[in-house]
Symmetry: C2
Subunit: 134 residues, 2 copies
């Protein structure tokens, strides 16, 4: 599978507005999109840092994926998302290479994207997201 590049770095935060302010002041970041995804228990803000993108993720409650991450590890880097042209093909190729897929099929993500996650146990401790259509 050939990823086209890093779509974004996902970061779990306790305070979404505070993090937005920090990224603006420190790195000249600009808000690209902000969205609440109730089904995932997350409020997200995508910011551009130059040509790069960081996705700031705040939990809607403790019993959500990001809430559990924050309780266990505290705020910090959460995942790396790679941009792929063909997400279904990419999942097939990863499965053939022995990757443990969290999502065997693409599912709707933030901002109308199709996404799928790969288990960190397969990728040396890094939670990987595949993104297409972003």
């Amino acid at each position: 599978m050939e990823a086209r590049g890093i779509h974004h770095v996902g970061v779990a935060v306790e305070d979404l507005d505070g993090a937005l302010d920090t990224y603006r002041r420190f790195f000249g970041a600009s808000l690209e999109q902000r969205e609440t995804l109730e089904s995932q228990g997350v409020e997200a803000a995508a910011v551009r840092v130059g040509e790069g993108r960081v996705e700031l993720l705040a939990a809607l409650g403790d019993d959500t994926p990001v809430g559990r991450f924050l309780a266990k590890r505290g705020p910090g880097m959460h995942h790396v998302a790679y941009d792929v042209a063909d997400i279904r093909g990419a999942l097939d190729e990863l499965a053939a290479e022995g990757a443990e897929l969290i999502d065997e099929e693409p599912r709707p993500g933030l901002y109308g994207m199709q996404v799928a996650f790969v288990h960190p146990e397969s990728v040396h401790g890094v939670l990987v997201e595949l993104v297409s259509g972003g």
Copy 2:
């Protein structure tokens, strides 16, 4: 300060050759540079994933920054590096914004780059590296 983009995502690994193999097979990564930096106690391999870059970091011993990170948190995402045009100016601007700098002056990093780190306490739990000349 205006970062130009994400220079790389730094990942701490237990097994550098194994990680290189995984990134090649899963994401079509290609090795860009590999270098041991004894002064930092690290062996690093930069790989390109499409237009993105991941820096895989293995510790040369337990009592090194990456060795301590691995002992505490296990393998996984270690830092995000932003590409800046003027690293000294960027450090001055960050200090003026209240960022806690690990390196108040740029220092030699991997592959001939000038680098400086910003404390994760200042950036919502994310260890940030500034890179210029890479």
